[in-house]
Subunit: 330 residues, 2 copies
C-alpha cells in the first residue's frame, strides 16, 4: 500500500509499505480521511520522544472496514488503545489506562491506504456524515471531553459563563464551536496567527484577538479558560485572565515551562484541570454533534491528497494555510 | 485592654491598647481563646505584605458577646469579612468577595481581651463545646472546605480513596482527622518535624512519615493529595505522588516557586484545586464536627496565657513544641 512515512525531523516520504498485519482483535480498515493533528506536527518537528521514526503517523481517521463480519461498514476510528481489563479501563476511564497506546504513536497510524485497528475501536459513521467530517470525531472528542470535565466543576452552567479559548488550532476552534452550541455568555479566542484569526472569525461567533497586541481582555474576567496550547506563556495568561472561582482547562502539551500562578490559583480558589483524550461516550457524542450540524457546516476543513501530505506539513509549519484542519485523502 | 501587638519582624509586645471601636454592624466580643495560625507565624517572620505592623494578629477566635441583644452569648467568630452584596457574596461564596478582609489581617485580630467583630460573623457555640475547642472552628473549616471541593471532583468517594496530607500542622492534622472520619481507605501524612510526627501518630490513625527520609511512598499512588504547605517542593511531591485521574487540593501559601508538573497533570488527567478559607456552611459543619467528637478528643491542643504569647511564637519557630496548635487565653 501507499503510505506517508515519517522518516526523521521534518521529513516525510510517500512510498510503498507492506500491508498492515492484523492481530486477532483487529480489523483492516481502508482509510478514506486522515487529519493532521498538532501532535503530528510536534512529532514532525522532532519534539515528541514517544513517536520514533520511521513510522506512519495519523490518528484522526475515518474509512471502511475490509473483510470480516462488518465488511463494508463505514467507521470512524478511536485511536486510543487500552488494555480493557485494568481498574481504570473497567471504570470507564480507558484514557487513564497505564498501558494505553495510540494509533500513530506507539502503533502504526493512518497516513496510509490501510490500517489495522482494534475492532472494538471502530464506531459506525451515521449515513449523513461524510468521511472527511467523520475524521473530526477524534479532535472534537478531545475538546468535548475537556469541556465536560470543566462543567463538573464550574459553579454555574456554561450558558452563564464568559469563556476564553487560548489557541485557535483545531482543538481550540472546536472548543469554541462547542461552547457556542452550549450558549456560553461570551466566547473569546486568543490566536497569534492573523491567517487563523480570519478563518476563526468566519467559522464562529467568537471574539477573536491577538494576544501579542495591546488590545487584550483585562484580568480576572473569564469563568472558564481553555488552554489549547499548553505553554508557560499561555498558562501565565490563563492564570491572570481566569475569574475568581473559575476553571482553567488545560489540554495542550507544548512545553513544561513555569507559568502557572499557583498563589493566585489558591487565593482566588481556581481549579486547574488536566485533560487527556476522551472516552467512548465523548467519541459517540462527537459523532452526534458532527452529524446533526450542531457545530456548524464544517466547510472550514481543507482536504489534500495523501500523496501531497509532506507539503501540507510544511505549509502548516510556515503558517501558510488559514484552515484550522487539513485532512489527507489516500 | 491588654493585647499582644505585632510590632515588627519576630517582635510581639504584650501591652495596654485602647478598646476596639464598634461600627454599627459590629458586636464587642470578650475573647476567651485565640489560636496561633501558620499565617500568623508567616506575618511574624515578616513574610506577609498584607499584615502590616503595628497590629493585633489572630483570627481563630472564640469568646462571649458583651452588650447588645445577644449579650452573654458564647460565640465562635468567622473572621472573614466580606461585603455581602457583590455577585460572589450573593452566590454564597463570600470567600471570593473582591473586597474581602480578615480579622487579624486588614482589621485588628484577637490576640487581645476584646475584639470588634461583625455581628453577622458570630456563630453560637454548642453548650458541650468549650471555648478552646470552639476556636478550632476556623482551621477545621479550612480543611473541611478543601476536602469538600475535592469530593466534588474525585471519581469515587473519599471512603474508597487513598489519601495523603503533606504538612502536619493544624490544617494538615485536621484534614487527616476529617479524612479518618470519612473512612478513607488510606491516610498518610508527610511531616518533616519528628516532634510533630510523634504527636500526629498519637492523635490519628494515619501513616506518618518523614518526606526527607528514604522511606517514602512510591509515585502515582494517592487518589487525593492535600498540600497543606504550598511550596515548590511540596507541589513537586504532590505532582509525583497523586494517582492518575486524582486530585491535588492546594491549601498552603508558603511560596510561589516552580514545582507543579503540568505535563504529568495533563497526561494523567489530574485536577489541581486552589482553596481559600470557607463559607458559612463550612464553619457551621465544623462546629458540629468539633462538638460531637467525630474528629476525636481534641486533647492535642496546647493552651498558654496570652501574656506569654510572644514565647509561643518563638517556640513554634524553633520547633520546640509538639502540638499542632497552640491557643492563647487572655
Amino acid at each position: 500500500m501507499k503510505a506517508l512515512v515519517y522518516t526523521g525531523t521534518q521529513s516525510l516520504d510517500f512510498r510503498d509499505e507492506p500491508m498492515p498485519e492484523l492481530q486477532a482483535t483487529d480489523s483492516l480498515v481502508r482509510i478514506e480521511a486522515s487529519g493532521i493533528c498538532g501532535s503530528d506536527m510536534h512529532a514532525w518537528h522532532g519534539h515528541d520522544a514517544r513517536r520514533i521514526p520511521p513510522m506512519i503517523l495519523g490518528h484522526e481517521l475515518a474509512g471502511r472496514i475490509e473483510g470480516g463480519p462488518r465488511d463494508g461498514e463505514r467507521v470512524a476510528i478511536n485511536p486510543l488503545v487500552s488494555c480493557g481489563h485494568c481498574r481504570d479501563c473497567r471504570a470507564g476511564l480507558p484514557n487513564l489506562c497505564a498501558s494505553r497506546d495510540l494509533l500513530g504513536l506507539g502503533r502504526a497510524g493512518g497516513y496510509a491506504e490501510h490500517i489495522a485497528a482494534p475492532t472494538a475501536n471502530l464506531l459506525s459513521i451515521p449515513d449523513q456524515l461524510n468521511a472527511v467530517h467523520a475524521s473530526l470525531m477524534e479532535p472534537t472528542a478531545v475538546s468535548l471531553h475537556a469541556i465536560h470535565l470543566a462543567e463538573r466543576v464550574l459553579n454555574r452552567p456554561i450558558s452563564e459563563c464568559r469563556t476564553l479559548v487560548i489557541g485557535g488550532g483545531a482543538i481550540g476552534a472546536l472548543a469554541a464551536l462547542i461552547l457556542e452550541q452550549k450558549g456560553a455568555r461570551q466566547i473569546s479566542i486568543a490566536e497569534t496567527s492573523s491567517f487563523r484569526r480570519n478563518s476563526l472569525k468566519a467559522m464562529c461567533a467568537a471574539q477573536v484577538y491577538d494576544p501579542l497586541s495591546k488590545d487584550v481582555p483585562s484580568g480576572n474576567h473569564f469563568e472558564l479558560v481553555i488552554d489549547a496550547v499548553g505553554s508557560g506563556a499561555t498558562r501565565k495568561a490563563a492564570s491572570e485572565l481566569v475569574r475568581t472561582g473559575g476553571v482553567i482547562s488545560h489540554i495542550g502539551l507544548q512545553d513544561n515551562q513555569e507559568g502557572l500562578d499557583t498563589r493566585r490559583i489558591t487565593l482566588q480558589e481556581i481549579t486547574f484541570i488536566g485533560n487527556y483524550t476522551y472516552n467512548q461516550t465523548d467519541l459517540q457524542a462527537s459523532l452526534d454533534l458532527l452529524e446533526d450540524g450542531s457545530i456548524g457546516s464544517l466547510d472550514w476543513v481543507e482536504t489534500r491528497p495523501l500523496s501531497e501530505g509532506a507539503q501540507a506539513f510544511v505549509d502548516i509549519h510556515e503558517a501558510r494555510t488559514p484552515a484550522p484542519k487539513i485532512v489527507l485523502i489516500p
